[in-house]
């Protein structure tokens, strides 16, 4: 099993979910986050006081997936989230040791 975290543009969310559905990936958890990277931020001005905003709204999709499905999942995300512009985001892949399904106490891949 691996944990895949994809940080994407919020408006790409629907496309990515669609792509994941097509390859049969269903379970996932979503976070609303703010990100900073190479993408340029913008200036905000409140009553004449400038404020540089370089944390932009991003959506994080997190999914735990069986080892043999990792590559295609990453592909699906990358292809559906891509616009080719800076700020498209990143996919991170992490190790994971175990999973438990609370409902029936199943463990390991069976619990996904």
């Amino acid at each position: 099993m691996k944990r895949i975290e994809a940080i994407i543009q919020p408006y790409k969310m629907d496309d990515v979910r669609e792509a994941l559905k097509e390859i049969g990936v269903d379970g996932m958890t979503i976070y609303d986050v703010r990100g900073h990277g190479r993408q340029k931020g913008h200036k905000e001005v409140y009553r004449g006081q400038e404020y540089e905003v370089d944390l932009l709204p991003k959506t994080k999709i997190e999914l735990i997936i069986a080892d043999d499905r990792v590559e295609e999942t990453v592909q699906a995300i990358v292809e559906s989230a891509r616009t080719g512009k800076i700020g498209d985001g990143k996919v991170f892949i992490y190790p994971i040791e175990d999973v438990v399904r609370i409902r029936n106490r199943e463990r390991g891949e069976a619990a996904l």
């Binding site: 543009q9 408006y11 629907d14 913008h42 905000e44 001005v45 409140y46 905003v53």
Partner: protein
């Protein structure tokens, strides 16, 4: 009569000599009750735009466009006011021809505290101004989430000159073409602005939606309201403010005002039920958004007839308004596929048209004896009036549609109508105004 009463005759006569003068002055004086009432109504109608409409619309867009959407309504409070002061009021209400007023009241020249009817001329001017503010603001629902701020400003100013000022003059101005009570050729019954306000803004909204095009992501993305509580506050304040709009249009604190007040409230209530019933049947559940949208639909629908129809007729008009506007928004829009983002056409265009027609049907001399004993609406046998109202609707549709189309083309060719795609994605708040609605700062 006491025996010495006659002895007091001289003194009495002295007193009496003053009476006719008194009576005369009285005629030419402001009735303070009417004046107070219309000032209050003016405040209520301003409250309809800000915060009312601004919140109603603001709650329905995505969070990244919340401020920009509210700003579109708010700007009308500033821009239309100055325009009205300088020239708009004159073009709408100064004596002129059948289509447009003259320049007598330029810079409010000659508009002072003196009476105009039973209220101060300034009171009348400012009450009418509040209508000139909300009407263009209504249109902004059609192009929400994608219109350039500069384009919006230029569009609105031109629209004021080409659509609103002439429409206001034709329906309510002295000698206006559609003015039923001041020698209009095609006299229409429009108590508080079914044509001037709702059809003109609603039809223009449709043209805007068609010319400016859909929002990126519509309809696939299922764009949802960022904050229904904000829309709820807005809708309720619209309801409350609408009493000023409709009952104030009596221009006096009399029985007609009371009657218009009641009709307004009844239509809103019945329309809530109409809309929710349709939703319940078709979508399975009655929603809060449906309830408040229904209320607005009912209020739109009763606007032209508010002071002409009975309370029971108002219930019918409102209920139909709720049903028909639901249909236009939920079924027709989806079928035809245009992106009237906040349903400015679906509610104001459709509801205003329905209301103008039903006014021609239900207007009743028992409620408002506007024609000195002659029948008012179709149900009382006045087919001519019904036809006139239809003609008025038609004329408004044509004027609004053609003028809006031309103005949009001009704006597009000059300052531009629509933000570029990157800005639309990032949102108008940041790109047009350099600010965000909320901060999570700790």
């Amino acid at each position: 009569m006491k025996p010495n009463a006659l002895l007091r005759l001289p003194a009495l006569l002295l007193f009496l000599t003053a009476l006719p003068a008194l009576a005369q002055t009285e005629e030419a004086q402001i009735n303070k009750a009417d004046n107070a009432w219309i000032l209050v109504c003016s405040a209520l109608v301003l409250m309809m735009t800000g915060p009312g409409l601004a919140l109603f619309y603001g709650g329905l867009v995505r969070k990244k466009n919340l401020l920009a959407t509210m700003m579109q309504s708010f700007m009308m409070m500033a821009v239309m006011t100055v325009l009205w002061a300088l020239v708009g009021y004159s073009l709408a209400f100064a004596p002129g021809n059948s289509f447009i007023g003259g320049l007598d009241y330029l810079f409010l020249n000659g508009v002072g505290t003196e009476p105009n009817g039973s209220i101060s001329h300034l009171t009348f001017m400012v009450f009418q101004l509040m209508f000139a503010i909300i009407t263009p603001a209504l249109i902004s629902g059609a192009f929400a989430e994608r219109m350039k701020f500069t384009g919006m400003l230029v569009f609105m100013i031109l629209w004021g000159f080409v659509v609103y000022f002439p429409m206001a003059h034709m329906v309510w101005g002295p000698g206006g073409l559609l003015n039923a009570f001041d020698g209009g050729l095609i006299g229409c019954l429009d108590f508080a602005g079914g044509t001037v306000v709702h059809i003109s803004s609603g039809v223009s909204a449709l043209v805007c939606a068609l010319v400016i095009g859909k929002r990126k992501g519509y309809p696939e993305e299922g764009i949802r309201p960022n904050s229904l509580p904000l829309s709820f506050i807005g809708a309720c304040l619209l309801w409350v403010g609408w009493f000023g709009f409709n009952a104030g249009s009596a221009l006096a604190a009399d029985g007609i005002a009371a009657s218009a007040f009641v009709a307004t409230h009844f239509a809103a209530a019945a329309a809530v039920l109409g809309w929710l019933l349709a939703e319940w049947i078709r979508d399975g559940k009655p929603s809060m958004l449906g309830g408040i949208t229904g209320a607005v639909a009912g209020l739109v629908c009763i606007t032209p007839g508010a002071g002409f129809v009975s309370p029971m007729a108002a219930l019918v008009i409102g209920f139909l308004g709720g049903l028909v506007c639901y249909f236009s928004v939920a079924v027709m829009k989806a079928k035809l596929g245009y992106d009237d983002s906040l349903d400015a056409f679906g509610v104001h265009g459709v509801g205003g048209t329905l209301g103008a027609i039903l006014t021609g049907v239900f207007a009743s001399k028992a409620v408002n004896d506007g024609f000195d004993g002659a029948p008012m609406g179709l149900l009382e046998g006045n087919t001519g009036q019904f036809v006139n109202n239809l003609l008025g609707v038609l004329l408004t549709w044509v004027l609004a549609a053609v003028a809006t189309f031309i103005i949009l083309k001009i704006v597009d060719a000059t300052v531009g109508l629509r933000v570029d795609e990157a800005d639309e994605i990032r949102g108008l708040d940041v790109t047009q105004h350099g600010e965000e609605a909320y901060s999570q700062q700790g």
